[in-house]
Amino acid sequence: MSDKEKEYKELFIAESQEQLEELNRLLTDLEKHPQGKSEIQSIFRITHTLKGNAAGMGFSDLSAFAHTLEDLFGLVRDDKLSLNDDLFTQIYKSLDILSELLQQVVTGQKVRYKGLQTKLRVIIESVSSGEANQESAIHDNNQVTETENDHAEDDLNNEMKEAEPLSSPEESASENTMVEANNSLENEESGSSVAGEIPEKERPKGKNTGTEQNIAFSDLIQVPVRKLDHLLNLVGELVIERDRLIASAGNRKSSNEYSRLNRISSDLQYSVMDVRLIQVGFLFNKFHRVVRDAARMEDKAVRLEIKGSDTEIDRNILQIISDSLIHLIRNSISHGIETKTERTKLDKGEEGVVTLSARSENDGVVIEIQDDGQGINIQRVRDKAIARNLITRREADSLSDEDIILLIFEPGFSTMEQVTSLAGRGVGMDVVKSALDSVGGTISVHSEPGKGSKFILKLPSTMAVKGTLLFESEEVTYAIPLTNTKSVLSLYKKEIKRLSGGLAITFQDRTVPVIFLVEILRSKSVELASAASLKKMEELHDEQSMDIIIVEFNGRYFALVVDKLLQQKEIVEKTLKPPLDVIKVISGVTILGNGNVCLVLNVAMIHNFMFQRAKSLNSDQTV
């Protein structure tokens, strides 16, 4: 069994044990107040969930038994069956059996449950047939029995057939079965309580574990995320403290002295991070419903395909982007997938496919949402962006298709002519982007007309440790995430070109704007920062080289001039506390080995600052 399966099984068992405890509690409550509607509802719901989960895990015995209980409580709920002491006894026994069956999943020991199950079944049958004077009701009843037999065990099937032909589940037949059921149940009981007629070896072994089962402890414990966050913070501080210690003692002692400390604390850090990882499948599996509802509302046929659901990611990151994923999926269905008739006309098959896939890549996770719909209509995006005053017509002509597509992430953009209930309110895509910004992720889009579009989300797999490049600027040490760092260069003045009031270089056949970081941090607008950068460079000596970092964000490149490149370092980032939390250009801080504070650049914000054309245009309009 693979690790994943094992993990699922553990989770299933833990969850089921909880459900069983809840059932026991509810049942005791119910016994005190037999009219408790809400308890009956809850019991019905829980047995239903238990049945579904067990069936999903392939534990057919457990699932079948839970199903019988569910049916029973269905009748109780519908007031067709009233609870009495005898019935309670049977139900309590059933819960014990359920608990044994759950134990069977672990131990593999056979549990005898069919007698009780048949007994319950008979109770259900008798109620149903007793009230069913009309033929239709009997018919329904038979149907139930038949479907039951499909996935219930043959044993029951045989017993029913033996007793009487299946076609007439009348009183007499039920009674016969009842007797048989009672017999087999008594056998089981005598096996556990009164040792006697039944030889030792034939005793159901499950019984013995069954009595212990009542106070079984789960192998899993539930921990609030808050506590994990706290633990992670502490580990982060420990790592910082370790680095400080090693740095301060490094001159005097050999670094071997600390290698054990180093290793243990690193192991600890990664273990804590590992505890916080969950499989994306937990979220992805909720999307079947989202897709179904969205497709229904739009009257489209859509199938969701999920790949790589065992990819692991930090729980908090998954939580933050879950709404974004929902939005992107709805967007694919609403804007991407064509209507049934359109698809048939295009010979694409009536059913559209949305593929949700996840995979680990480098030190991050890539999630892709792909549809086989019509693709993004770039001309419409272009027109809409002009109509919405996001860009001017002249800009629209000069922008590449990729840049045009990026406009859909601007606030206040929506291509849908009509506001639909799913997407098209003009909120959403920009919300998606800011959610990604907040966790340090990026989004890019590939679209082919007629073939569909693909949204690619690149996310860090953990929020705790960031690979960064350290550098110095005006005697302050900064860190920039490596995920955003495309390249570092050292260039002379003559290699940098002037471009419309600013600076630029050619990097991999792209024209990349160049700007001094200090000017970004100092200036109010990108124009002022560019002008200041230009001036600053002119003052430089021809022979002086400049350290430049090429930064990539959402497919756009820009170059930052810094004073001095230092080193690569994994850092534990701390967020800024009030009153500093309003500074958006710095996402957080970390403490260096020498005890000094290092500022971590928020690349998303610097990117927005560099490319804020759309925003400044907007504000011109409102003035």
């Binding site: 100092r522 200036s523 607008s525 009030p578 500093l580 801080v589 000094n596 504070v597 500022l599």
Partner: protein, 166 residues
């Protein structure tokens, strides 16, 4: 009995203040608002902050904002201060914020009965913008000491008036 009552009364009424000098003015902060006094560590400049936020510093693993109240209150520069300016940092802590306040000399503590603290409105005739932080005025040895609520100084909205790109 009577004596004891009097002592109790006095105890309840006594206020413990931390007094420090900014240029030629004296200020006081209620001791409850101060966590500790430390030698000022290395300060890292922080971009996009008003002038009176000198930067951030690492104090026992906590990274906190360092505030220069002299710049905030425009208390003026005393030439003699320059050399030793900001030798000490008062660490101010509340539930939702933590910051350091730079001071030149080791601050003094002052025990005064609550009745000695006068309402600021009666003393300050000019309506300076920082009046809202001033909780009262204490006269001690011919000195006028302004009692300030340091938390409301730090939590004011000035930081939010930053360039929107920030």
């Amino acid at each position: 009995m009577t004596t004891k009552n009097v002592t109790e009364l006095e105890d309840q009424d006594m206020q413990q203040l931390i007094v420090f000098r900014l240029a030629s003015e004296y200020y006081a902060i209620h001791i409850d608002q101060i966590k500790e006094v430390v030698l000022t560590p290395a300060i890292t400049k922080m971009p996009k902050t008003p002038e009176h936020i000198r930067g951030v510093a690492n104090i026992r693993g906590n990274i906190i904002a360092i505030v220069d109240l002299a710049l905030k209150f425009q208390a003026g520069q005393d030439e003699s201060d320059k050399a030793g300016k900001g030798n000490y940092t008062l660490v101010v802590e509340s539930e939702d914020m933590k910051a350091g306040v730079l001071v030149t000399d080791v601050p003094n503590t002052l025990n005064v009965p609550a009745s000695v603290i006068e309402d600021a409105a009666g003393v300050l005739t000019d309506s300076r913008e920082n009046e809202s932080y001033i909780k009262g005025v204490v006269k001690s040895d011919d000195q006028l000491i302004l009692l300030i609520d340091i938390l409301s100084v730090l939590s004011d909205k000035h930081l939010e008036n930053l360039p929107n790109a920030g």
